[in-house]
Structures are given as structure tokens and as C-alpha cells.
Symmetry: C2
Subunit: 328 residues, 2 copies
């Protein structure tokens, strides 16, 4: 029998989850829940229905795993604990500093509901966390480096858009090749924010806006840009829509460590992603973990878990013998 | 209390395990078992003892995990099932085609002894298998590529050494940059053995050996070299010992896949290793999994497992809350 999936929230991530489900024969999208008027939503799965979010408590016997596609700022801190009482859930909560707090809240309600909740599933947190975990356990004497990009940072793009006189903007985070090479050499460099990443901004101005003033305002913005070498390009709205419509991203997790009687041997473990679509890749990770959530729940597990807790084979629909034969 | 480790077999891998244990505060090497005369073995851990292999059945109350450092050809197929009856064990059995059979044999005896046995732990099989597992589950619509090197292939070096007139030899397997680039482009190329790797041989001849004949014999050797572009360098024994004493290795696991309503978005997941010492890195992976074996056993788990079955967090000595805070 298929794993029956519900999606709550139908933005870029929700649509990505819908597409990812189609690539997995053992899964079926049953319902999409939205806070908008359901009749306004056009989804791509003819066999699934769209419901208003007020129906969320009514479908507990029809859905095996609910995938929460809201934002980390305000949606998920509230939604995940609420829904983990009713469903096995997966979210992509990505505010790193607040994960411990989110975990506690979700764990409590998932245990009350005897459900499995997988939080912070995606690529960072997610696959990058996993790779930091494995590499650090294998090479205890070493150092971790995480680089992001080249890719669009939503937070930095938003920060530019909030500047007076800016009509629209996209910001790319770009890892510095020289820094990557230094890390890969095993020299374990100490790197500043500026040495690790550059920031490239494509900005559309409103009529009559002051170019020099806005460029300076971007470059000097604390936290977001002041600590980086930042390039600003002013372009037309048409150019922005034509050349910067995508949401690519990616990055690198590198651990450099040493072994041997005299720590004389260097080792570099590198994991990297190059993604045409950040939300679709995140969705693909989430869908694989939705399978794991269903299986863990069937085994009687409950409570909050993360990618660090889930046996790798639980992500696959294939049985152990097949995986050992094909992959090991 | 420390996890008490035994090592059976004290070659390159066994010495690597001994060194790796020193990097993990929660572990302690208790004993090294050898088929040689114990008094002939000089180990680097003053607190550990050396025993003859005939003492292997006598230490079951003093050792939590026995690490088997023998070879896959003849040692492990016999040793792992035998010892999994008595101890939690970890081995690095790496004959890919025979893993299913080895698994069955080990599983049976581990269950009889109510012990945990982790087999095929290392980097390929091992970390490479894990990465094929994760990447394939995340991007079901895609293609896997594994490249090895640059590194010393023991099997290919041995094959050259068996040729009449050869005194000594080292063979490096080298991935072809153009093939790596083609894979990273997302074009999903079909690649022949020749297109993926080249082979570089450093050969020391015996006095009076026929250089041309030996070079031809190497290049035309079926399975080992005939399907590859092979370079042969004849050097002195002194040069071989000076420039080719190390055992570096490494490689790449790359999955290229697509997502989106029309499969319009490409994604590249790449995992790579660059290792100064193949046996020491393998040993480091094994030691992390020895920790997992001890924990699984404490939880009452028994039977044969592989890296695909073990929750990532079990590799670490840190608790869940610390891992979530530091790594997620």
C-alpha cells in the first residue's frame, strides 16, 4: 500500500514536494492544505484534493505523513508542534540557533500523539548536517568548513528589497575559490567571513532612486553585507526577470583531518551540492524522509527525530538485501 | 566506562585501528591478537596486551568490540562468522560481489551468539555506499558514478609483481578529469572503463629482464589493464622506495539527477575523499562504527548490520542534544 502524503502550504516548497512524490512509486499525494481559498489553488495532481487549513484535524485516518511546507520564522514553530499531535510530520525548520527549542516543543507533542516528527530536513540543516556528523566522527582530529553557493540567498535578497528606492533584487552568495583550495590543501586555515564568501547583488531601482546612495547602503549593511566583499549591479526589471528568475543554490562541507602515530597523514572529506532549484532539492530530501517517518511510525517509534537519528536504509523503498547487493 | 576494543590482525589496517582508537577518549585498546608469535609483535599501546590467536575465545568478558583486520580473500569469510558468535565485531570485508553471502553467514552466527556484527565498514564499501544510498533516495530520477583515485591499487600492484622479471611495482588508479567534468555537467554520459580511469605503473625490473616484453605484458593483461590507457615507468628500487612508499587513495561518488514538473532542474550531489593513507582512513571509519556496535549491542540489537542500517548519531560519543546543537 502507498504511503499517503498530505502537504500543508503550497508555495515553492509545497510544489516541489508534489513533484518529488511523483518520482516515488510507493507514495501518493492525498491532500494539499492551504490557508488561502482552496478553490483558488490549482495543483498538479488530479487524484489529490485541496482543503482549507481548518480541515487539518479531520484527515488523520487518511494521511500517513503530513509534510509542512511553511516558513521557519513564524509558521513552523507553531504548526509543527500542533500537527505532530495528529500526524507523523516532516518539516524543514532551518533557523539553526532555534533547533534545540523547536525540537523540545515538537518532541513533547509528538510523544503525546504517539507520532513521529522529523524536523530540520533539507540540505542545511539536513544533508550538510549529516556530512558534518559522519566526517567528524571518522576524523575526530580535524576541522569542519561549510561554504554556501553559488546560490540565491532569500534573506539577503529580501534585505535589499526593503531598502527605500529598490523595486526588486536578487543576491547571490559565492564561495571564494582560493578559500576552498586552501581548505582542500589540508592546511586548516582560519578564515574570516570575507575570505570565505563574496556577495553579488542584482538590483532594480524605482524611478528617481539614488544609485550611489543605495549601493553604499547595501555594502554597509551590518551582518548582511558589511563583512563581505559585495558587488552591486543595477539592471532593469526585464533583465532581472529574464536572467535571475531561478533559485539555484548549493555549497560544500569539507572536513580536513589527520591520522597516524604522529598525525602525519592528512585526509580531506568533501561533500558538495550544485542545485538548479533549492526548493525542489529540499523537497526531494523531505520526501525521502517522509518514507522513513512512515516506517519508523509503523515500528512503534514516536517523538521528534532528525536526520542524525534515522538509519540511512529507511530512506529507500528497497529492502535490505537489495540495497546491500546494489549499493554496498 | 570506556568501550574495550580488541584487534585481530596487526598489519597496516590493525595499526591504523590502534592509532584511531587513541583519537577517541571513550575507547580503549585492550588486546591485539595475532597468528604470529606474540613476543615478535611490538605494539604502540603500553596498556594493551598481545595474545596469540588461539586465545581469541578466552577474552569474551574483557572486550566489548572485536575489530577484524584480516583480508577479504581468505581471512574474513572464515573469521567474521566464527568470532561474531563470541563478540560484537566490525570488519571491512570489501569483495563487493560476495557481500550478500558474507552477510548471511555472519548474520546467522551473530544471532546465535546474540551479538552485533557490522560488516563491510570502510570507504568503499562503506562511506561511498552510504553516499550512493542517500543520493539515490533523494534523487530517484538520476544516475550514479563512482570514480577511484588517485590512489594505489593493491590488487593491480600485485598483478604486476607476479610478472616474471618484475622485482617490485606500484600501480596508481587515476580518474580522468574530462569524465569527472562531464558527469558534473549533468549530461549523464555513458562512460567506458577507459574513459573513466587511467592506470599508471611504476615498475622495478630484475637484472636482465626484458623491458619491452614486460611493458606489453602489463598493458595487455586482461581485466586489470587491457581496458585502460596504461602508462608504465621503469624506475630503480631506490626510487620506488623513496617516491612511492605511501598508500594514498580516494575517489568520487557523484549522483546527477533531475526534479521539477518537467524534470527541468538538474542537481549534482558529489562526495569525495582525498586520503594520504588508505588503511588509516579505513581504520578511522571502522573505529567510529565500533562505537555504534557497542551501543547497538547495549540496546539489545543482534545480527549482522551494515553502514546502511546504523543511525548516524550512533557513530558519535556526543549525546543527541549536543549533536543537534553543534551540527544540525
Amino acid at each position: 500500500m502507498s504511503i499517503r502524503i498530505g502537504i500543508f502550504g503550497y508555495g515553492n516548497l509545497g510544489r516541489g514536494v508534489e513533484n518529488a512524490i511523483k518520482q516515488n512509486d510507493d507514495m501518493e499525494l492525498v491532500a494539499v492544505f492551504t490557508r488561502r481559498d482552496p478553490s483558488s489553488l490549482k495543483i498538479n495532481t488530479p487524484t489529490a484534493k485541496v482543503y482549507n487549513a481548518n480541515m487539518l484535524s479531520e484527515m488523520t485516518d487518511k494521511i500517513d505523513v503530513m509534510i509542512l511546507c511553511g516558513g521557519s520564522a513564524t509558521d513552523l514553530p507553531k504548526q509543527t508542534p500542533e500537527l505532530a499531535r495528529l500526524y507523523n510530520v516532516v518539516d524543514s525548520f532551518d533557523t539553526h540557533a532555534k533547533i534545540p527549542e523547536h525540537f523540545e516543543n515538537v518532541d513533547k507533542s509528538a510523544k503525546e500523539g504517539a507520532k513521529v516528527a522529523l524536523i530540520s530536513v533539507g540540505w542545511d540543516p539536513g544533508m550538510f548536517s549529516l556530512n558534518r556528523m559522519y566526517a567528524g566522527a571518522i576524523l575526530p582530529n580535524g576541522k569542519d568548513y561549510t561554504f554556501w553557493g553559488k546560490g540565491v540567498s532569500q534573506g539577503h535578497s529580501d534585505a535589499i528589497r526593503r531598502i527605500d528606492g529598490v523595486l526588486d533584487a536578487k543576491q547571490y552568495t559565492i564561495p571564494v575559490d582560493a578559500a576552498l583550495d586552501a581548505v582542500r590543501s589540508g592546511s586548516n586555515p582560519e578564515l574570516t567571513a570575507r575570505q570565505k564568501h563574496t556577495r553579488e547583488c542584482f538590483v532594480v531601482l524605482k524611478d528617481g532612486a539614488d544609485k550611489e546612495k543605495i549601493e553604499a547602503e547595501i555594502k554597509n549593511m551590518p551582518n548582511y553585507f558589511a563583512d563581505y566583499d559585495t558587488t552591486v549591479h543595477f539592471i532593469s526589471k526585464q533583465e532581472l526577470d529574464r536572467d535571475h528568475a531561478g533559485i539555484p543554490h548549493g555549497g560544500f562541507v569539507i572536513r580536513s583531518g589527520v591520522t597516524g602515530a604522529n598525525l602525519e597523514h592528512k585526509h580531506i572529506i568533501e561533500y558538495s551540492l550544485k542545485l538548479d532549484s533549492n526548493p525542489e532539492f529540499t523537497a526531494s530530501v523531505i520526501v525521502a524522509y517522509a518514507r522513513a517517518a512512515a516506517r519508523l511510525s509503523k515500528e512503534g517509534v514516536c517523538g521528534c527525530k532528525t536526520v542524525l537519528d534515522v538509519p540511512p536504509s529507511y530512506l529507500s523503498s528497497k529492502d535490505g538485501a537489495t540495497l546491500r547487493k546494489e549499493l554496498l
